[in-house]
Subunit: 229 residues, 2 copies
DNA sequence: TAATACTGCGATCAGCGTTCGCACTATTAG
DNA sequence: CTAATAGTGCGAACGCTGATCGCAGTATTA
């Protein structure tokens, strides 16, 4: 027998009998995203989401199997913020770059995305559209299927990496981060890590320009050119 | 006044007064790593670690400020498994590749590393040595300090990405993963994502060769050549 | 009209990270 | 030698978490 449907995406939103649900997955997702945008992913507990919807925690389990599925819904919801309608140029590098830039914007808008535990194949309908688009952009490149997927994965890794760095730069540091920074400086000044000290100096010097110039686009371009040649 | 020491690395392991501690950070770290290796990072709760050390949870807080510091210790402990003593060749690409390969091995040996929440500057003494080594490898390359750090960051992103993929391939899939996979297949077969379907087919075909050949080394080389030229 | 399948949700469970306060002990100061 | 001090071990507890169970109420089907 073929195992009942299991992902949120396949499981029907409501049954055919009984009273109409008073809420919807979309509403719950929206409430969760609002919470996460305002107070971080840690604030997205079943209880707090329930409070926001004026119900009890147990009720949410009529809509979701568990908290992880809520993450699925949240991630896929914001994936829809990427525009996939613009025409492709035919240049894999430029077309992928457009995608990556947008994806990075989404991450900056929803920093909690970086806190969602990485699951293999966490991909909803919108994520699927995104992937299809990336593969379309990559179609002209003479790569194996596996290499294409690896390239897209690498691109996503770059997106999250730079999103993290930019968020880190623009947010005021926590106590922990200040402590870590002073430790690093002190340790580097000890003399046994001269190159780290030098890199640190260069880093703070470039910050003194107060130009948070990100090298994202040029770096992505270089990497993609190297991979799709 | 200069704020009391705050990172685990600066805070002295024991005070000058009072009885000698019955345990050490190293012991606690070892117990936590054993737990994590065997049952995953989720099993590393203060209580379970305490049980493993035949003590109470509250006692651990004489050694650590919080659970996150335990992660610091764990990550830095396994960072020591990378060999940094071999002589450098002088070729940044090859020298960094050696580092990356080792780092990936560490991740395969300790999969829970991928579950530790990414914090900016989570870097202990061993992590610092690793960073210094990477900068040494990169010294011959004509790059700005910032670009060097970005390159190393990208390298680490590649390491985690491939480690994740390889672990995913070699572990038997969870219920969730099976469900996600069947959803993906079904959705791709629907016709609106032809390229995803094609990529999926190519993926399962290459798996049929049962050769889990990783493209890690060649891909890292290509990326690094592109970035350090 | 009866059976059925669904909904909302209060009560509750087990587990979590962390804090408090107390008994105890080694070191230091007088 | 004694008293003050700072450190240690840890039982008990607090507030929070994700999740389950069972029951009352409701819309659909037979």
């Amino acid at each position: 027998m073929p195992q009942e449907p299991v992902t949120v995406w396949e499981r029907p939103e409501r049954g055919a009998r009984g009273p109409a649900p008073e809420r919807s997955r979309a509403q719950i997702t929206a409430a969760a995203i609002e919470l996460a945008d305002a107070e971080g992913l840690a604030a997205v507990s079943m209880r707090q989401v329930a409070v926001k919807l004026a119900t009890g925690p147990a009720s949410l389990y009529r809509y979701l199997a568990d908290r992880d599925e809520l993450f699925d819904l949240m991630a896929d919801a914001v994936a829809a913020e990427v525009d996939l309608t613009a025409p492709l140029t035919g240049d894999p590098v430029e077309d992928l770059l457009v995608l990556a830039l947008q994806s990075k914007e989404v991450h900056l808008r929803h920093p909690w995305l970086l806190d969602i535990p990485t699951e293999p194949l966490r991909l909803g309908p919108n994520g699927l559209d995104y992937l299809e688009r990336a593969l379309r952009a990559l179609a002209p490149a003479p790569l194996s299927e596996q290499s294409k997927l690896e390239t897209i994965g690498l691109l996503n890794a770059l997106v999250t990496q730079f999103a993290r760095a930019e968020l880190h730069a623009q947010r005021s540091p926590t106590e922990r981060q200040k402590a870590q920074a002073t430790y690093l400086i002190k340790a580097a000044a000890e003399g046994r890590h001269p190159l780290v000290a030098q890199a640190l100096a260069g880093q703070t010097a470039s910050n003194a320009d107060s130009r948070p110039q990100s090298h994202f686009a040029p770096l992505v371009r270089r990497v993609l050119v190297g991979l799709t040649s």
